[in-house]
Protein backbone atom coordinates (compact mmCIF):
# COMPACT_ATOMS: atom_id res chain seq x y z
CA UNK A 1 0.00 0.00 0.00
CA UNK A 2 3.04 2.30 0.20
CA UNK A 3 3.00 3.00 -3.49
CA UNK A 4 -0.62 4.04 -3.62
CA UNK A 5 -1.46 5.35 -7.07
CA UNK A 6 -3.73 8.34 -6.94
CA UNK A 7 -6.07 9.73 -9.53
CA UNK A 8 -5.88 13.34 -8.41
CA UNK A 9 -3.05 15.19 -10.10
CA UNK A 10 -1.84 18.75 -10.36
CA UNK A 11 -1.26 20.91 -13.40
CA UNK A 12 1.69 22.92 -12.07
CA UNK A 13 1.33 25.48 -14.83
CA UNK A 14 -2.12 26.43 -13.61
CA UNK A 15 -1.42 26.21 -9.86
CA UNK A 16 -0.97 29.67 -8.34
CA UNK A 17 -0.03 28.36 -4.93
CA UNK A 18 -3.16 29.82 -3.30
CA UNK A 19 -4.56 28.25 -0.16
CA UNK A 20 -7.99 27.00 -1.24
CA UNK A 21 -7.12 23.32 -1.50
CA UNK A 22 -4.70 23.57 1.42
CA UNK A 23 -7.43 24.63 3.82
CA UNK A 24 -10.15 22.38 2.54
CA UNK A 25 -8.29 19.06 2.37
CA UNK A 26 -10.01 17.00 5.10
CA UNK A 27 -6.91 14.94 5.88
CA UNK A 28 -4.29 17.73 5.70
CA UNK A 29 -2.52 16.01 2.81
CA UNK A 30 -1.70 19.18 0.86
CA UNK A 31 1.22 21.56 1.35
CA UNK A 32 2.25 24.57 -0.71
CA UNK A 33 5.98 24.37 -1.42
CA UNK A 34 7.82 26.77 -3.73
CA UNK A 35 4.52 28.31 -4.76
CA UNK A 36 2.87 25.08 -5.88
CA UNK A 37 0.52 22.64 -4.21
CA UNK A 38 1.91 19.21 -3.35
CA UNK A 39 -0.24 16.25 -2.43
CA UNK A 40 1.18 13.79 0.08
CA UNK A 41 0.35 10.47 -1.55
CA UNK A 42 0.53 8.63 1.77
CA UNK A 43 -2.22 10.74 3.30
CA UNK A 44 -4.44 11.52 0.32
CA UNK A 45 -7.74 9.63 0.35
CA UNK A 46 -8.75 10.64 -3.20
CA UNK A 47 -11.90 12.41 -2.02
CA UNK A 48 -11.54 15.00 -4.77
CA UNK A 49 -12.45 18.02 -2.61
CA UNK A 50 -9.32 19.80 -3.89
CA UNK A 51 -10.49 19.36 -7.49
CA UNK A 52 -13.77 20.95 -6.59
CA UNK A 53 -12.40 23.95 -4.68
CA UNK A 54 -9.51 24.89 -6.98
CA UNK A 55 -10.38 28.28 -8.55
CA UNK A 56 -7.69 27.83 -11.22
CA UNK A 57 -8.75 24.35 -12.33
CA UNK A 58 -5.24 23.13 -11.60
CA UNK A 59 -6.34 19.88 -9.97
CA UNK A 60 -7.46 17.10 -12.24
CA UNK A 61 -8.64 13.58 -12.02
CA UNK A 62 -6.57 11.35 -14.25
CA UNK A 63 -8.78 9.09 -16.30
CA UNK A 64 -8.46 7.28 -19.59
CA UNK A 65 -9.88 8.81 -22.76
CA UNK A 66 -12.78 7.53 -24.81
CA UNK A 67 -10.53 6.94 -27.84
CA UNK A 68 -8.43 4.57 -25.69
CA UNK A 69 -11.21 1.98 -26.00
CA UNK A 70 -10.11 1.42 -29.60
CA UNK A 71 -7.18 -0.57 -28.21
CA UNK A 72 -9.62 -3.41 -27.62
CA UNK A 73 -11.44 -5.50 -30.18
CA UNK A 74 -14.43 -6.05 -27.90
CA UNK A 75 -15.38 -3.25 -25.53
CA UNK A 76 -17.80 -3.50 -22.65
CA UNK A 77 -19.04 -0.36 -20.89
CA UNK A 78 -19.71 -0.51 -17.13
CA UNK A 79 -21.83 2.56 -16.36
CA UNK A 80 -22.19 3.52 -12.69
CA UNK A 81 -25.88 4.13 -11.84
CA UNK A 82 -25.15 7.82 -11.15
CA UNK A 83 -24.80 8.22 -14.94
CA UNK A 84 -28.57 7.78 -15.33
CA UNK A 85 -29.24 10.85 -13.21
CA UNK A 86 -27.27 13.18 -15.48
CA UNK A 87 -29.86 13.54 -18.25
CA UNK A 88 -32.82 15.85 -18.46
CA UNK A 89 -36.18 14.29 -19.38
CA UNK A 90 -34.82 10.76 -19.47
CA UNK A 91 -37.65 8.29 -18.99
CA UNK A 92 -35.86 5.09 -19.83
CA UNK A 93 -32.36 3.88 -18.93
CA UNK A 94 -32.17 2.11 -22.29
CA UNK A 95 -31.61 5.42 -24.07
CA UNK A 96 -28.35 5.83 -22.17
CA UNK A 97 -27.26 2.24 -22.75
CA UNK A 98 -28.12 2.43 -26.45
CA UNK A 99 -26.10 5.64 -26.55
CA UNK A 100 -23.09 3.80 -25.16
CA UNK A 101 -23.40 1.19 -27.90
CA UNK A 102 -23.61 3.99 -30.46
CA UNK A 103 -20.39 5.45 -29.06
CA UNK A 104 -18.57 2.29 -30.06
CA UNK A 105 -19.06 -0.12 -27.18
CA UNK A 106 -19.95 -3.69 -28.12
CA UNK A 107 -21.83 -4.42 -24.92
CA UNK A 108 -22.94 -2.83 -21.68
CA UNK A 109 -22.99 -4.31 -18.19
CA UNK A 110 -24.67 -2.07 -15.65
CA UNK A 111 -22.87 -1.70 -12.32
CA UNK A 112 -26.33 -1.35 -10.77
CA UNK A 113 -26.98 -5.01 -11.60
CA UNK A 114 -23.98 -6.05 -9.53
CA UNK A 115 -25.12 -3.63 -6.82
CA UNK A 116 -28.39 -5.52 -6.48
CA UNK A 117 -26.51 -8.77 -5.99
CA UNK A 118 -24.22 -7.15 -3.41
CA UNK A 119 -27.30 -5.82 -1.58
CA UNK A 120 -28.61 -9.37 -1.45
CA UNK A 121 -25.32 -10.69 -0.09
CA UNK A 122 -25.22 -7.87 2.44
CA UNK A 123 -28.62 -8.93 3.79
CA UNK A 124 -27.36 -12.50 4.13
CA UNK A 125 -24.16 -11.34 5.78
CA UNK A 126 -26.05 -9.24 8.35
CA UNK A 127 -27.88 -12.38 9.49
CA UNK A 128 -24.70 -14.30 10.19
CA UNK A 129 -23.63 -14.85 13.77
CA UNK A 130 -20.45 -13.20 15.09
CA UNK A 131 -20.62 -10.32 12.66
CA UNK A 132 -19.29 -7.10 14.16
CA UNK A 133 -22.10 -4.56 13.99
CA UNK A 134 -22.77 -2.04 12.76
CA UNK A 135 -21.45 -3.20 9.43
CA UNK A 136 -19.94 -0.38 7.40
CA UNK A 137 -20.38 -0.35 3.62
CA UNK A 138 -17.28 -1.06 1.54
CA UNK A 139 -18.59 0.67 -1.58
CA UNK A 140 -16.96 4.10 -1.22
CA UNK A 141 -13.18 3.64 -1.53
CA UNK A 142 -12.51 7.02 0.12
CA UNK A 143 -14.20 5.82 3.29
CA UNK A 144 -12.41 2.48 3.32
CA UNK A 145 -9.05 4.21 2.94
CA UNK A 146 -9.88 6.76 5.63
CA UNK A 147 -10.87 4.03 8.08
CA UNK A 148 -7.71 2.04 7.33
CA UNK A 149 -5.61 5.08 8.28
CA UNK A 150 -7.40 6.27 11.37
CA UNK A 151 -9.79 3.77 12.91
CA UNK A 152 -8.15 0.45 13.73
CA UNK A 153 -11.27 -0.78 15.54
CA UNK A 154 -13.60 0.05 12.72
CA UNK A 155 -11.60 -1.94 10.15
CA UNK A 156 -13.39 -5.07 11.34
CA UNK A 157 -16.78 -3.42 10.78
CA UNK A 158 -16.21 -2.94 7.07
CA UNK A 159 -18.33 -5.25 4.94
CA UNK A 160 -15.84 -7.91 3.75
CA UNK A 161 -17.70 -8.38 0.48
CA UNK A 162 -16.50 -7.01 -2.83
CA UNK A 163 -18.02 -3.71 -3.94
CA UNK A 164 -20.34 -3.71 -7.00
CA UNK A 165 -17.64 -2.55 -9.43
CA UNK A 166 -15.58 -5.72 -8.82
CA UNK A 167 -18.53 -7.98 -9.39
CA UNK A 168 -19.73 -6.04 -12.43
CA UNK A 169 -16.28 -6.31 -14.01
CA UNK A 170 -16.18 -10.03 -13.36
CA UNK A 171 -19.67 -10.64 -14.75
CA UNK A 172 -19.02 -8.46 -17.79
CA UNK A 173 -15.88 -10.40 -18.65
CA UNK A 174 -17.53 -13.77 -18.15
CA UNK A 175 -20.39 -12.71 -20.38
CA UNK A 176 -18.05 -11.42 -23.10
CA UNK A 177 -15.90 -14.56 -23.02
CA UNK A 178 -18.94 -16.82 -23.21
CA UNK A 179 -20.46 -14.90 -26.10
CA UNK A 180 -17.21 -14.62 -28.02
CA UNK A 181 -15.02 -17.66 -27.37
CA UNK A 182 -12.99 -16.75 -30.45
CA UNK A 183 -11.58 -13.68 -28.72
CA UNK A 184 -8.29 -13.55 -26.88
CA UNK A 185 -8.96 -12.41 -23.26
CA UNK A 186 -6.63 -9.48 -23.95
CA UNK A 187 -8.89 -8.29 -26.75
CA UNK A 188 -11.74 -7.72 -24.31
CA UNK A 189 -11.73 -4.27 -22.74
CA UNK A 190 -13.80 -3.69 -19.59
CA UNK A 191 -14.41 0.05 -19.31
CA UNK A 192 -15.78 1.62 -16.16
CA UNK A 193 -17.57 4.96 -16.39
CA UNK A 194 -16.76 6.52 -13.04
CA UNK A 195 -18.44 9.33 -11.10
CA UNK A 196 -15.30 10.02 -9.04
CA UNK A 197 -11.50 9.85 -9.00
CA UNK A 198 -11.54 7.58 -5.95
CA UNK A 199 -13.10 4.69 -7.82
CA UNK A 200 -10.53 5.20 -10.57
CA UNK A 201 -7.76 4.87 -7.96
CA UNK A 202 -9.48 1.88 -6.43
CA UNK A 203 -9.39 0.09 -9.75
CA UNK A 204 -5.74 0.98 -10.32
CA UNK A 205 -4.60 -0.13 -6.88
CA UNK A 206 -6.56 -3.35 -6.44
CA UNK A 207 -6.93 -2.31 -2.84
CA UNK A 208 -8.77 -5.36 -1.62
CA UNK A 209 -5.99 -7.69 -2.67
CA UNK A 210 -7.74 -9.19 -5.64
CA UNK A 211 -7.42 -8.06 -9.19
CA UNK A 212 -10.20 -5.74 -10.24
CA UNK A 213 -10.88 -6.72 -13.79
CA UNK A 214 -11.29 -3.23 -15.20
CA UNK A 215 -9.03 -2.19 -18.08
CA UNK A 216 -9.96 1.46 -18.47
CA UNK A 217 -11.68 4.09 -16.36
CA UNK A 218 -13.47 6.94 -18.11
CA UNK A 219 -14.69 10.13 -16.52
CA UNK A 220 -18.46 10.30 -16.38
CA UNK A 221 -18.46 13.91 -17.56
CA UNK A 222 -16.33 13.07 -20.63
CA UNK A 223 -18.72 10.28 -21.57
CA UNK A 224 -21.74 12.47 -20.82
CA UNK A 225 -20.80 15.07 -23.41
CA UNK A 226 -20.24 12.37 -26.04
CA UNK A 227 -23.52 10.71 -25.09
CA UNK A 228 -25.77 13.74 -25.45
CA UNK A 229 -24.55 13.99 -29.03
CA UNK A 230 -25.61 10.48 -30.00
CA UNK A 231 -28.66 10.12 -27.74
CA UNK A 232 -30.65 12.84 -29.55
CA UNK A 233 -30.66 10.94 -32.82
CA UNK A 234 -32.06 7.76 -31.43
CA UNK A 235 -35.56 6.66 -32.14
CA UNK A 236 -36.27 3.63 -30.04
CA UNK A 237 -33.48 1.97 -28.04
CA UNK A 238 -32.89 -1.74 -27.63
CA UNK A 239 -34.29 -3.07 -24.33
CA UNK A 240 -30.94 -3.65 -22.64
CA UNK A 241 -31.33 -2.41 -19.05
CA UNK A 242 -31.65 -5.03 -16.35
CA UNK A 243 -31.71 -2.72 -13.36
CA UNK A 244 -34.33 -2.55 -10.64
CA UNK A 245 -35.10 0.10 -8.05
CA UNK A 246 -32.36 -1.05 -5.72
CA UNK A 247 -29.65 -0.79 -8.33
CA UNK A 248 -30.62 2.75 -9.32
CA UNK A 249 -30.93 3.76 -5.67
CA UNK A 250 -27.27 2.98 -5.01
CA UNK A 251 -26.39 6.20 -6.87
CA UNK A 252 -27.50 8.45 -4.04
CA UNK A 253 -27.13 8.37 -0.27
CA UNK A 254 -29.54 6.10 1.54
CA UNK A 255 -30.22 3.87 -1.44
CA UNK A 256 -27.68 1.25 -0.56
CA UNK A 257 -28.61 1.29 3.14
CA UNK A 258 -32.35 1.05 2.53
CA UNK A 259 -31.70 -2.09 0.46
CA UNK A 260 -30.88 -4.01 3.66
CA UNK A 261 -34.67 -3.97 4.30
CA UNK A 262 -34.25 -3.01 7.92
CA UNK A 263 -34.61 0.46 9.39
CA UNK A 264 -31.64 0.18 11.74
CA UNK A 265 -29.29 1.98 9.43
CA UNK A 266 -27.49 5.27 9.16
CA UNK A 267 -26.59 6.90 5.86
CA UNK A 268 -24.30 9.93 5.80
CA UNK A 269 -22.55 11.85 3.07
CA UNK A 270 -20.02 14.64 2.67
CA UNK A 271 -16.55 13.88 3.97
CA UNK A 272 -16.78 16.21 7.00
CA UNK A 273 -20.07 14.67 8.14
CA UNK A 274 -18.70 11.21 7.57
CA UNK A 275 -15.65 11.92 9.71
CA UNK A 276 -17.89 13.06 12.55
CA UNK A 277 -19.95 9.88 12.30
CA UNK A 278 -16.77 7.77 12.35
CA UNK A 279 -15.50 9.54 15.48
CA UNK A 280 -18.77 8.79 17.26
CA UNK A 281 -18.80 5.22 16.03
CA UNK A 282 -15.27 4.85 17.31
CA UNK A 283 -16.47 6.01 20.73
CA UNK A 284 -19.02 3.20 20.73
CA UNK A 285 -22.06 5.30 19.88
CA UNK A 286 -24.93 3.85 17.84
CA UNK A 287 -24.72 0.26 19.22
CA UNK A 288 -28.28 -0.33 17.98
CA UNK A 289 -27.43 0.11 14.31
CA UNK A 290 -27.07 -2.76 11.87
CA UNK A 291 -25.68 -1.00 8.85
CA UNK A 292 -23.84 2.19 8.01
CA UNK A 293 -23.58 3.66 4.54
CA UNK A 294 -21.00 6.40 4.22
CA UNK A 295 -20.31 8.38 1.07
CA UNK A 296 -17.50 10.89 0.76
CA UNK A 297 -19.38 13.01 -1.76
CA UNK A 298 -22.36 15.20 -0.90
CA UNK A 299 -25.53 13.40 -1.96
CA UNK A 300 -23.65 10.14 -2.58
CA UNK A 301 -22.13 9.01 -5.88
CA UNK A 302 -24.30 11.51 -7.79
CA UNK A 303 -22.15 14.15 -6.05
CA UNK A 304 -18.92 12.70 -7.42
CA UNK A 305 -16.37 15.12 -8.87
CA UNK A 306 -16.70 13.62 -12.34
CA UNK A 307 -20.46 14.02 -12.61
CA UNK A 308 -22.06 16.90 -14.47
CA UNK A 309 -25.39 17.54 -12.79
CA UNK A 310 -26.04 18.97 -9.35
CA UNK A 311 -26.32 15.92 -7.04
CA UNK A 312 -29.76 16.80 -5.71
CA UNK A 313 -31.20 17.33 -9.17
CA UNK A 314 -29.66 14.02 -10.26
CA UNK A 315 -31.24 12.34 -7.24
CA UNK A 316 -34.66 13.77 -8.08
CA UNK A 317 -34.33 12.50 -11.63
CA UNK A 318 -33.39 9.04 -10.43
CA UNK A 319 -36.46 9.00 -8.22
CA UNK A 320 -38.77 9.40 -11.19
CA UNK A 321 -36.65 7.11 -13.34
CA UNK A 322 -36.92 4.22 -10.90
CA UNK A 323 -40.61 4.66 -10.11
CA UNK A 324 -41.89 1.95 -12.41
CA UNK A 325 -38.96 -0.42 -12.08
CA UNK A 326 -39.20 -3.76 -10.25
CA UNK A 327 -37.54 -3.82 -6.81
CA UNK A 328 -34.64 -5.88 -8.07
CA UNK A 329 -33.86 -7.55 -11.37
CA UNK A 330 -30.78 -9.42 -10.25
CA UNK A 331 -31.73 -11.20 -7.07
CA UNK A 332 -34.02 -14.13 -6.65
CA UNK A 333 -35.99 -13.46 -3.49
CA UNK A 334 -37.89 -16.73 -3.43
CA UNK A 335 -35.22 -19.16 -2.37
CA UNK A 336 -32.11 -17.16 -1.70
CA UNK A 337 -32.92 -15.30 1.50
CA UNK A 338 -33.44 -18.19 3.90
CA UNK A 339 -30.64 -20.39 5.23
CA UNK A 340 -28.39 -19.20 2.49
CA UNK A 341 -24.84 -17.99 2.82
CA UNK A 342 -22.63 -15.64 0.88
CA UNK A 343 -20.43 -17.76 -1.40
CA UNK A 344 -16.74 -17.62 -0.47
CA UNK A 345 -15.57 -16.09 -3.72
CA UNK A 346 -17.39 -12.85 -2.95
CA UNK A 347 -15.51 -12.23 0.26
CA UNK A 348 -12.52 -9.92 0.30
CA UNK A 349 -9.50 -9.67 2.58
CA UNK A 350 -10.21 -7.72 5.77
CA UNK A 351 -9.15 -4.07 5.70
CA UNK A 352 -5.82 -3.59 7.44
CA UNK A 353 -5.00 -0.72 9.77
CA UNK A 354 -2.16 1.35 8.33
CA UNK A 355 -1.61 4.50 10.39
CA UNK A 356 0.08 7.45 8.68
CA UNK A 357 0.36 10.10 11.37
CA UNK A 358 3.00 8.60 13.67
CA UNK A 359 5.76 11.05 14.61
CA UNK A 360 8.39 8.36 15.15
CA UNK A 361 8.72 4.60 15.49
CA UNK A 362 10.28 5.17 18.87
CA UNK A 363 7.90 6.41 21.53
CA UNK A 364 10.42 8.47 23.51
CA UNK A 365 11.41 10.20 20.32
CA UNK A 366 7.75 10.75 19.43
CA UNK A 367 7.13 12.27 22.85
CA UNK A 368 10.09 14.61 22.51
CA UNK A 369 8.83 15.68 19.11
CA UNK A 370 5.32 16.22 20.42
CA UNK A 371 6.70 18.39 23.23
CA UNK A 372 8.59 20.50 20.69
CA UNK A 373 5.44 20.81 18.57
CA UNK A 374 3.48 21.99 21.58
CA UNK A 375 6.12 24.57 22.46
CA UNK A 376 6.26 25.76 18.87
CA UNK A 377 2.48 26.14 18.63
CA UNK A 378 2.67 28.63 21.49
CA UNK A 379 5.09 30.75 19.47
CA UNK A 380 2.94 30.79 16.36
CA UNK A 381 0.18 33.35 15.71
CA UNK A 382 -2.64 30.77 15.59
CA UNK A 383 -4.41 32.48 12.72
CA UNK A 384 -4.11 29.53 10.31
CA UNK A 385 -3.45 31.83 7.35
CA UNK A 386 -1.72 29.16 5.29
CA UNK A 387 1.01 31.51 4.02
CA UNK A 388 3.66 29.13 5.31
CA UNK A 389 2.29 26.40 3.06
CA UNK A 390 0.82 24.26 5.84
CA UNK A 391 -2.94 24.22 6.45
CA UNK A 392 -2.89 25.31 10.11
CA UNK A 393 -0.39 26.69 12.61
CA UNK A 394 -0.52 23.39 14.51
CA UNK A 395 0.18 21.50 11.33
CA UNK A 396 3.02 23.87 10.49
CA UNK A 397 4.58 23.25 13.91
CA UNK A 398 4.39 19.53 13.20
CA UNK A 399 5.97 20.00 9.76
CA UNK A 400 8.83 22.02 11.27
CA UNK A 401 9.50 19.35 13.88
CA UNK A 402 9.31 16.62 11.27
CA UNK A 403 11.94 18.58 9.32
CA UNK A 404 9.67 19.16 6.33
CA UNK A 405 9.79 22.94 6.45
CA UNK A 406 11.55 25.80 8.14
CA UNK A 407 10.25 27.94 11.00
CA UNK A 408 11.08 31.08 9.01
CA UNK A 409 8.34 30.21 6.54
CA UNK A 410 5.92 31.76 9.05
CA UNK A 411 5.67 35.33 7.78
CA UNK A 412 3.64 36.56 10.73
CA UNK A 413 6.27 35.39 13.19
CA UNK A 414 9.01 36.89 11.03
CA UNK A 415 7.31 40.26 10.93
CA UNK A 416 6.90 40.24 14.67
CA UNK A 417 10.61 39.46 15.07
CA UNK A 418 11.49 42.30 12.71
CA UNK A 419 9.32 44.76 14.62
CA UNK A 420 10.91 43.68 17.87
CA UNK A 421 14.38 44.11 16.38
CA UNK A 422 13.48 47.60 15.11
CA UNK A 423 12.17 48.59 18.51
CA UNK A 424 15.30 47.47 20.30
CA UNK A 425 17.45 49.45 17.86
CA UNK A 426 15.67 52.70 18.68
Amino acid sequence: MNEYRHSVSLDTGKCKGCTHCLRRCPVEAIRIRDGKAHIDAKRCIDCGVCIDVCPHKAKKATCDKLEDIKRFKYKVALPAPSLYGQFDNLDDIDYVLQGLLDLGFDDVYEVSRAAEVISGFTRLYLRKKDVKKPVISSACPVIVRLISMRYPYLCENILPIMPPIDLAAQKAREKAEAAHPELDPEDIGIVFISPCPAKASYVKNNTNGDHVDVDLVLSMSDVYFELIGVMKKKLSPLPISRTGMIGVSWASTGGEASAIFNDKYLAADGIENVMRVLEQLDNGDFPFLEYIELNACPGGCVGGMLTVENPYIAKARLQSLKRYLPVSENWDFRDSEDDCDVPDEFFTDPVEYAPVSRLSDNMSDAMRKMARIQALVEELPGIDCGSCGSPTCACFAEDVVRGLTDINQCVVRMRKKLEEAEKSEK
Binding site: E279, N283, P355, M363, S364, M367, M370
Partner: protein, 141 residues
Protein backbone atom coordinates in the same frame (compact mmCIF):
# COMPACT_ATOMS: atom_id res chain seq x y z
CA UNK B 1 9.16 9.72 34.17
CA UNK B 2 11.60 12.00 32.40
CA UNK B 3 9.25 12.48 29.49
CA UNK B 4 5.79 13.81 30.09
CA UNK B 5 3.35 15.68 27.93
CA UNK B 6 0.42 17.65 29.17
CA UNK B 7 -2.58 18.46 27.02
CA UNK B 8 -5.04 20.98 28.33
CA UNK B 9 -8.54 21.61 27.04
CA UNK B 10 -11.30 23.94 28.11
CA UNK B 11 -14.56 22.07 27.67
CA UNK B 12 -17.22 24.52 26.56
CA UNK B 13 -20.48 23.98 28.42
CA UNK B 14 -22.50 26.37 26.29
CA UNK B 15 -22.00 24.54 23.06
CA UNK B 16 -23.42 21.06 23.12
CA UNK B 17 -22.53 20.37 19.51
CA UNK B 18 -18.81 20.64 20.22
CA UNK B 19 -18.96 18.16 23.12
CA UNK B 20 -16.53 15.34 22.48
CA UNK B 21 -14.00 17.46 20.61
CA UNK B 22 -11.33 17.27 23.30
CA UNK B 23 -11.35 13.49 23.28
CA UNK B 24 -11.03 13.52 19.48
CA UNK B 25 -7.97 15.77 19.85
CA UNK B 26 -6.44 13.46 22.44
CA UNK B 27 -7.09 10.46 20.27
CA UNK B 28 -5.24 12.14 17.42
CA UNK B 29 -2.24 13.00 19.64
CA UNK B 30 -1.98 9.48 21.05
CA UNK B 31 -2.10 8.10 17.52
CA UNK B 32 0.77 10.39 16.51
CA UNK B 33 2.75 9.20 19.51
CA UNK B 34 2.31 5.60 18.42
CA UNK B 35 0.34 4.20 21.37
CA UNK B 36 -1.40 0.88 20.65
CA UNK B 37 -4.99 1.10 19.35
CA UNK B 38 -6.44 -0.73 22.36
CA UNK B 39 -5.05 1.87 24.76
CA UNK B 40 -6.18 4.76 22.57
CA UNK B 41 -9.68 3.34 22.54
CA UNK B 42 -9.81 3.06 26.33
CA UNK B 43 -8.49 6.57 26.88
CA UNK B 44 -10.71 8.18 24.29
CA UNK B 45 -13.91 6.49 25.43
CA UNK B 46 -13.29 7.25 29.11
CA UNK B 47 -12.46 10.83 28.27
CA UNK B 48 -15.39 11.19 25.88
CA UNK B 49 -17.86 10.04 28.53
CA UNK B 50 -16.34 12.38 31.10
CA UNK B 51 -16.36 15.27 28.70
CA UNK B 52 -20.02 14.71 27.82
CA UNK B 53 -20.84 14.55 31.55
CA UNK B 54 -19.20 17.90 32.16
CA UNK B 55 -21.21 19.46 29.35
CA UNK B 56 -24.53 17.91 30.43
CA UNK B 57 -24.28 18.44 34.17
CA UNK B 58 -21.65 21.05 34.98
CA UNK B 59 -21.76 23.63 32.19
CA UNK B 60 -18.33 22.56 31.03
CA UNK B 61 -14.98 22.42 32.79
CA UNK B 62 -11.32 21.68 32.25
CA UNK B 63 -9.69 18.55 30.91
CA UNK B 64 -6.02 17.76 31.41
CA UNK B 65 -4.32 14.73 29.98
CA UNK B 66 -0.87 13.80 31.23
CA UNK B 67 0.97 11.41 28.96
CA UNK B 68 4.06 9.40 29.85
CA UNK B 69 5.29 6.24 28.15
CA UNK B 70 4.01 4.28 31.17
CA UNK B 71 0.66 5.79 32.07
CA UNK B 72 -1.97 8.19 30.78
CA UNK B 73 -3.71 10.30 33.39
CA UNK B 74 -6.93 12.14 32.63
CA UNK B 75 -8.11 14.84 35.02
CA UNK B 76 -11.55 16.32 34.46
CA UNK B 77 -12.42 19.20 36.74
CA UNK B 78 -15.65 21.17 36.85
CA UNK B 79 -17.42 23.66 39.06
CA UNK B 80 -20.81 22.08 38.60
CA UNK B 81 -23.45 20.92 41.08
CA UNK B 82 -21.39 18.01 42.41
CA UNK B 83 -22.60 14.42 42.80
CA UNK B 84 -24.81 13.88 45.85
CA UNK B 85 -24.57 10.09 45.93
CA UNK B 86 -21.50 8.71 44.12
CA UNK B 87 -22.46 5.05 44.62
CA UNK B 88 -25.86 5.69 43.07
CA UNK B 89 -24.33 7.66 40.19
CA UNK B 90 -22.00 4.74 39.48
CA UNK B 91 -24.93 2.39 39.01
CA UNK B 92 -25.56 1.46 35.39
CA UNK B 93 -28.68 3.09 34.05
CA UNK B 94 -28.93 5.74 36.75
CA UNK B 95 -29.05 9.21 35.25
CA UNK B 96 -30.04 12.72 36.20
CA UNK B 97 -29.70 14.03 32.65
CA UNK B 98 -32.51 16.35 31.54
CA UNK B 99 -34.98 15.30 28.82
CA UNK B 100 -33.55 17.56 26.12
CA UNK B 101 -30.22 15.75 26.46
CA UNK B 102 -31.86 12.33 26.47
CA UNK B 103 -33.61 13.16 23.26
CA UNK B 104 -30.15 13.44 21.69
CA UNK B 105 -29.34 9.91 22.78
CA UNK B 106 -27.29 10.83 25.83
CA UNK B 107 -28.19 10.29 29.47
CA UNK B 108 -28.37 6.50 29.34
CA UNK B 109 -26.72 6.28 32.73
CA UNK B 110 -23.63 4.59 31.33
CA UNK B 111 -21.15 7.47 31.53
CA UNK B 112 -19.49 6.87 34.89
CA UNK B 113 -19.71 3.05 34.68
CA UNK B 114 -18.01 3.16 31.26
CA UNK B 115 -15.32 5.48 32.55
CA UNK B 116 -14.55 3.02 35.31
CA UNK B 117 -14.69 0.04 32.96
CA UNK B 118 -12.19 1.47 30.49
CA UNK B 119 -9.62 2.78 32.99
CA UNK B 120 -7.27 1.18 35.49
CA UNK B 121 -8.17 3.57 38.25
CA UNK B 122 -10.80 6.22 38.78
CA UNK B 123 -11.00 8.67 41.64
CA UNK B 124 -13.97 10.99 42.19
CA UNK B 125 -13.63 14.05 44.37
CA UNK B 126 -16.94 15.84 44.60
CA UNK B 127 -18.76 18.33 46.79
CA UNK B 128 -22.37 19.32 46.26
CA UNK B 129 -22.59 22.90 45.07
CA UNK B 130 -18.83 23.18 44.55
CA UNK B 131 -17.83 20.82 41.79
CA UNK B 132 -16.33 17.51 40.80
CA UNK B 133 -12.84 16.40 39.88
CA UNK B 134 -12.40 12.97 38.34
CA UNK B 135 -8.94 11.49 37.91
CA UNK B 136 -8.57 8.43 35.73
CA UNK B 137 -5.47 6.50 34.78
CA UNK B 138 -4.85 4.06 31.99
CA UNK B 139 -1.61 2.09 32.17
CA UNK B 140 0.37 1.40 29.04
CA UNK B 141 1.28 -2.25 28.29
Amino acid sequence: MDEALNFHYDVDGENFTSAGNASVQVKRKLRQLGFPPELIKRVSIAMYEGEINMVIHANGGKADVLVTPEVITIVLADEGPGIADVALAMREGYSTAPDNVRSLGFGAGMGLPNMKRYTDSMDIQTKVGVGTTITMTVRVS
